[in-house]
Amino acid sequence: MTPTEDDLRRSLNRQVAVPPTAPGTQGRADRAIGAARTVRRRRALAVGAAVLVLAAGGVFAATRAGSRHVPLPPADPAPTVSPTPPSTDSPRLDLVLLPRGDGDISLWSAEKRGIVLPKTPAHVVKVTDGWLTLGDYGLPEPSFWVRSTLERVPLPADISYVVVAPDGRRVAWRAAGLLSTGTLSGGKLVVEHSTPAPAEGGPLAYTGDAVYLGRPNNGGMEWHDIWVPARGAYTSTPGQVGDQTTVLAPTPDGKFLAVRPGRCLVLLDPLDGLRTVKSVCGTGVNPVRDRPVSPDGRYLATEYLAPNTAGASHTAVFDLTTVWDTPEPVVVYPRSYEVAWEGDGTLLGNDGTGLVRLRLDSAKPGVVSAPGVDPTIARPVRRPG
């Protein structure tokens, strides 16, 4: 045992030497049993829906051994490419289907194609022409562009920190000691700008014109900075170390939404030295990256903790046209969900027990089912941005 290993063992034990004031174990058992029963009901509904689809359209799901593309074709030799009209509670987003055991991750799309994704991606992002399947954030892991034609385009071997602009075409990344921006076009990732990368970190958000750079950690950002490729090479801006800004998302009009201590929501202009354009504090917004802005740029869906309260966080939606004057969410949902915008007015989410649709005019989630899909393993694919 080396000194580091010895220290590590002691440190880990020290962190948990004083247990927290835990909720009763009886409560844990009750909640687990209740949630499990909900899951069983939803699975039963999904199976029922699958049976209906089989009966109505002769659609089947097949997994060909050795095939990386798994079509979910109509069995009829003269297919009517509209297998099943989506019902009102069907998801209107692609879904990532998580693996059972050591299986593959696959994709369920509205076009009724099941696609086994290459490797086991850490993220899947929808782009204009297909999907990016990316490695663990900030780590150089195998990443691919799976085009709409299902062609797989490998991305550079050591690519990391890949972020997509809201237009779904422009991409920024780190690879081979360079920061680069480019475009997904014609089956190629076309490099448009490159500059030497800093020692650590990389792109965290991209408006299409400006790249927000940084290296996150548990205490905020070790550093953050901005690179505007059209203005030339990246040069480090002094005084950006130890910043507590967490960028949530780019906005369609080229700004960055961010959170600062005090749960202050801020709008930053990357073309003006990250100048604060707007700011409001006490919003209850949690500093979690990758919170999505609606396609029209009006709403922010975010993790939310009501001010002056302790306890569980929730998913909430803020109206970005009014929040700067009235820092109140438009709606707060009962739990915290992994969410993606289906359209401008609805979100699709999953809290680990099933898919739900979240509407702006109701705090009550609606159950969503996709034919033949176990909702407990389905996660909405994020739109870019």
């Binding site: 080396t2 580091t4 290993e5 220290d7 590590l8 063992r9 002691r10 440190s11 880990l12 020290r14 962190q15 948990v16 247990p19 927290p20 004031t21 835990a22 909720p23 174990t25 009886q26 844990r28 058992a29 909640r31 687990a32 049993i33 949630a35 499990a36 899951v39 069983r40 990532v96 055991g101 050591d102 991606p121 850490a122 993220h123 663990d136 900030g138 780590l139 996150p216 950690n217 548990n218 205490g219 905020g220 950002m221 507590q244 967490t246 959170v259 201590p261 005090g262 749960r263 500093p287 979690v288 990256r289 903790l305 001010p307 302790a310 569980a312 992994e338 680990g352 027990t353 996660r379």
Partner: protein, 166 residues
């Protein structure tokens, strides 16, 4: 095994599982959330798991895999938690642990590397058992542990403040 057996299992083992969950995610609230998810999945599989030893192994595997999986990434070290003071820690414990530089460096590791360290050096699992729990090869466990320890050595070599109690 029936529902009461499950309740007994939760009563007996959830405190220990919660501690492991905390080391995996670095935050008591999220640890509780993670444990709750693992217990739900355990109850779903309850009838086919058989004897209690298999149950605990299953729960631990779910715990680790959920913590290290991308779809629960928001529980992992990649999550900036700039102003956690709004979420009070239990009994002032967070104020104590914040002084532990080694632990701060462990929290910065990628989720899978951190999980390997927690399983190997907190739970005292063998390399083979760690590999089984994470669903990876023994070679991957070795390389992840080596990389993580190397990172810690480098970081601690340059960042340990004077007088730090390690």
């Amino acid at each position: 095994m029936n529902e009461q057996d499950f309740r007994d299992f939760v009563a007996a083992r959830s405190p220990a599982l919660l501690r492991t969950a905390y080391l995996l995610v670095g935050d008591w609230h999220r640890a509780e959330d993670l444990l709750q998810t693992a217990l739900t999945k355990t109850y779903l599989a309850w009838r086919r798991l058989g004897e209690i030893g298999a149950v605990e192994a299953y729960t631990r595997k779910v715990l680790v895999n959920t913590a290290t999986s991308w779809w629960r990434r928001r529980w992992t070290g990649e999550r900036p938690t700039a102003d956690l003071p709004d979420t009070p820690g239990p009994d002032g414990l967070d104020a104590l642990v914040v002084r532990d530089e080694l632990w701060q460096q462990v929290r910065r590791l990628p989720a899978r590397q951190r999980a390997v360290l927690v399983l190997r050096y907190y739970e005292d699992q063998s390399e083979a058992e760690t590999a089984r729990l994470l669903g990876v090869s023994v070679g991957t466990v070795k390389s992840q542990a080596s990389r993580a320890l190397g990172t810690l050595r480098v970081q601690l070599g340059t960042r340990i403040p004077e007088g730090m109690d390690r």
